[in-house]
């Protein structure tokens, strides 16, 4: 773009073209800045939910420890076969749009079924563990959303910076340069016409 600008002919047509281009780039930059603000707002709103993570980790660690203790006390044979009575959950990955950004998300399609487990200790422990896993899935979904939104933010920032620090100054320089050239040429033309008229 910059190399193209250096070889533009100094004419009123070029001047109009450059003005239109500069206007378009500035409008584009404004739109991108608005999008950036929108994404930042979205990231901040998700960040609040990410604060649940330590709590979710704690909940998971506690539930996991209870299950581990039951597994150790009751023995591997019983633990594996009792776990067999639980119908496992079905989890799918879907793509969800966060402010137009495609984010992969884990979705629980079918909840696990613990109804066949009649031992209340096993059942309570496994239900607690599943609740903890569910919270962890929610947190992981939010984390991946923040990651993807931040990637998009990084990209928008790069484009805005490039427009702000590179393209717009160059376009303005070129516009200014061509404006001067056109004015000079107009003055020259005016002087030449005046001299011819005096003769």
């Amino acid at each position: 773009m910059s190399s193209e600008l250096a070889f533009l002919p100094a004419s009123r047509g070029t001047l109009l073209l450059l003005r239109r281009k500069l206007q378009l780039v500035k409008r584009g930059k404004d739109v991108l800045q608005m999008r950036r603000d929108q994404l930042v707002k979205e990231v901040f709103s998700i960040m609040d939910e990410l604060k649940k993570r330590p709590e979710a980790e704690q909940q998971y660690a506690e539930a996991s420890e209870i299950v581990s203790k039951i597994r150790m006390s009751r023995g591997e044979h019983e633990f594996l076969s009792i776990s067999n009575l639980a119908t496992p959950p079905k989890i799918e990955t879907v793509i969800v749009s966060y402010q137009g950004v495609a984010v992969p998300q884990a979705r629980i399609v079918i909840e696990p079924d613990f109804s066949k487990i009649t031992d209340p200790e096993y059942r309570t422990a496994l239900e607690k563990l599943w609740e903890a896993v569910k919270t962890m899935i929610e947190v992981a979904n939010k984390e991946i959303a923040v990651e993807k939104l931040c990637e998009q933010l990084q990209y928008i920032n790069r484009v805005v910076n490039s427009l702000e620090k590179n393209l717009i100054p160059k376009l303005e320089d070129a516009l200014h340069h061509i404006e001067e050239r056109v004015t000079e040429e107009e003055i020259e033309e005016f002087v030449r016409i005046k001299l011819i008229g005096e003769r």
């Binding site: 581990s68 203790k69 150790m72 023995g75 044979h77 009575l85 639980a86 119908t87 309570t124």
Partner: protein
């Protein structure tokens, strides 16, 4: 012959691990392979291989006693070991009625080998197979009231108690020698009823008992009396039961039953009932080692592992 059998059991008892050994293993100051009976267990064996090898030691010990026993005693010694087969049947029931994910069987089969059991894919085939064994000879499958797996497990457990009681009652010799053992089995069964009441529901158990029939003439378990008999702290037991901490309750019950068995069988240390006591001790050793191996594998603390172990010295 009986004296020889009991003396061999006393000899085997000296090889059982004690509290100090368990502590050394937990603290990793000694490895399991340092003990002659477990020297074939390698550090790089998988978790399930290690557990299987531990139970094989228990099975081999009891098999050794069965081999040197006279015929009717042999049946009794094997019947003690058959508890593992009953557990395998329960495991297979859960597998059939569950999600059919990988399960682990005890490496023991008297009437149905684990490999044969694992190939049974339907409940009907399982009952048919059981009908061909002494556990369910001349018995019909009852109509299950609640339809739960637990009710079927209760039925299988009842089959075992009927089988072992039947075996003792069948031989006059055994009946005479093992009268106190029947009392211990009855006491153990009462503890099981408390557990099953929690699992099957207080409202369902009487009807299930009427429907299935049970091996002992027990109408109800008076909890306070029962716990006092086993010298179990009533408040502690009630707390565990009311908060559904059944694992802790079962451990409490196991410790109480061991105390009670030792108390009842101490005058018979050179008689056949000692084999039952030895069986409990050897089985507890296998369970304790399984807990240590599992606990270490899961990454639980030394204190947490130690708190679940059952010690015979108590």
């Amino acid at each position: 012959m009986e004296t020889y059998l009991v003396v061999r059991a006393h000899g085997l008892k000296t090889r059982l691990l004690n509290k100090n050994d368990y502590e050394l293993i937990i603290r990793e100051e000694r490895s399991l392979a340092d003990y002659p009976d477990y020297m074939h267990i390698k550090e790089d064996d998988s978790l399930h291989d290690k557990i299987e090898k531990v139970y094989r030691v228990y099975i081999n010990r009891m098999n050794l006693l069965a081999k040197i026993s006279p015929e009717d005693y042999e049946q009794f010694v094997r019947a003690l070991l058959d508890r593992l087969e009953i557990e395998n049947i329960k495991i297979q029931l859960r597998y059939i009625m569950g999600s059919k994910r990988k399960v682990l069987y005890y490496p023991y089969g008297h009437y149905i080998s684990p490999s044969r059991l694992s190939k049974i894919a339907s409940e009907g085939t399982l009952w048919e197979t059981l009908r061909a064994t002494p556990y369910m000879k001349n018995k019909k499958v009852p109509k299950f009231i609640t339809g739960t797996v637990a009710e079927r497990e209760f039925f299988v457990e009842n089959l075992y108690y009927s089988y072992i009681i039947g075996l003792i009652n069948k031989s006059r010799n055994l009946k005479r020698k093992l009268d106190k053992l029947i009392e211990i089995l009855r006491t153990e069964y009462m503890g099981k009823l408390i557990y099953w009441e929690k699992i099957l529901g207080k409202e369902n158990l009487p009807e299930i008992i009427r429907n299935q029939g049970i091996p002992f003439d027990i109408h109800s378990v008076r909890l306070r009396e029962y716990l006092e008999k086993l010298k179990i702290d009533y408040q502690e037991a009630i707390e565990y039961l009311s908060t559904n901490r059944l694992t802790d309750f079962l451990n409490l019950l196991k410790r109480g039953l061991i105390r009670y068995s030792i108390y009842l069988l101490t005058p018979h240390t050179v008689e056949l009932p000692f084999i039952y006591l030895y069986n409990i001790m050897a089985h507890i050793e296998a369970e304790n080692l399984e807990r240590i191996i599992l606990g270490k594998n899961i990454g639980l603390t030394e204190e947490a592992i130690l708190s679940t172990l059952v010690f015979i010295e108590e």
